[in-house]
Point group: C2
Chain length 139, copies 2
């Protein structure tokens, strides 16, 4: 599957973002396309980095934090023990951040369950239970 190359608008369309965003992410070092003359050529590696970036965005990380996360994944890990220790430390702190977010999600979901139950109960008091079941669009 590797060895594929993409234009800027290829990737933009594929991920529903704008070319401007890709150029901006390049400025920030999140993607590193090569050039064909003046035009940007994106590799599969860039595509992966972009996916990681967008995933990080959905989780509310800043582009700078995202860069850290991406570069951890990057197989350009030197064998220097110092660097490896540093990497392990960063992995650990990021993991904690992610677990915190995970807990936040759980608490929010639980709270929403309570709200939903109350809403359903209030509905059933006014409506025949059958119509409640039917008209909910749970995509």
């Amino acid at each position: 599957m590797p060895d594929l190359e993409y234009s800027i608008s290829d990737l933009a369309q594929a991920f529903s973002i704008t070319p401007r965003t890709l150029r901006f992410y390049e400025m920030k070092g999140l993607v590193l396309p090569k050039r064909q003359g003046v035009n940007r050529i994106y590799s599969d590696k860039d595509k992966v980095r972009l996916e990681l970036a967008l995933r990080g965005k959905r989780l509310g990380f800043s582009l700078e934090e995202i860069k850290e996360i991406i570069e951890m994944q990057d197989p350009t890990q030197p064998d220097d023990p110092r660097q490896l220790f540093f990497l392990l430390q960063k992995l650990h702190t990021k993991r904690k951040e992610l677990i915190n977010k995970f807990n936040d999600i759980n608490e929010t979901l639980n709270a929403m369950d309570v709200v939903e139950e109350r809403a359903l109960a209030a509905l059933v008091k006014r409506q025949p239970a059958r119509s409640v079941q039917i008209s909910l669009d749970l995509t």
Copy 2:
């Protein structure tokens, strides 16, 4: 536990934010303190709304999205079936968003596991295994 009241700096200190942030959140309708003369008085209800807001922030929601989430939790739910259906719909879409974030977290954690294994393997090749165990600060 209810019936407690707080000054703006009380809450600010308690949650490690600035008074300015609380005033800003009030402008956005995230908290609704009453006034004692000109001074803001925060209730336990405001405190809860603030906790929800900060939780939402950690998950990367915008203040506007956070307001929606907060107002879902707010027990000012009218018994109007129309409103209740609307509430259930919003609960459903928010739940999906949260589950997406959840999946993003899982994928990131899995990827980080792989990175960690590789790093540890690279370390063990250079260092005696014992020192690896000891010097990692896993708080």
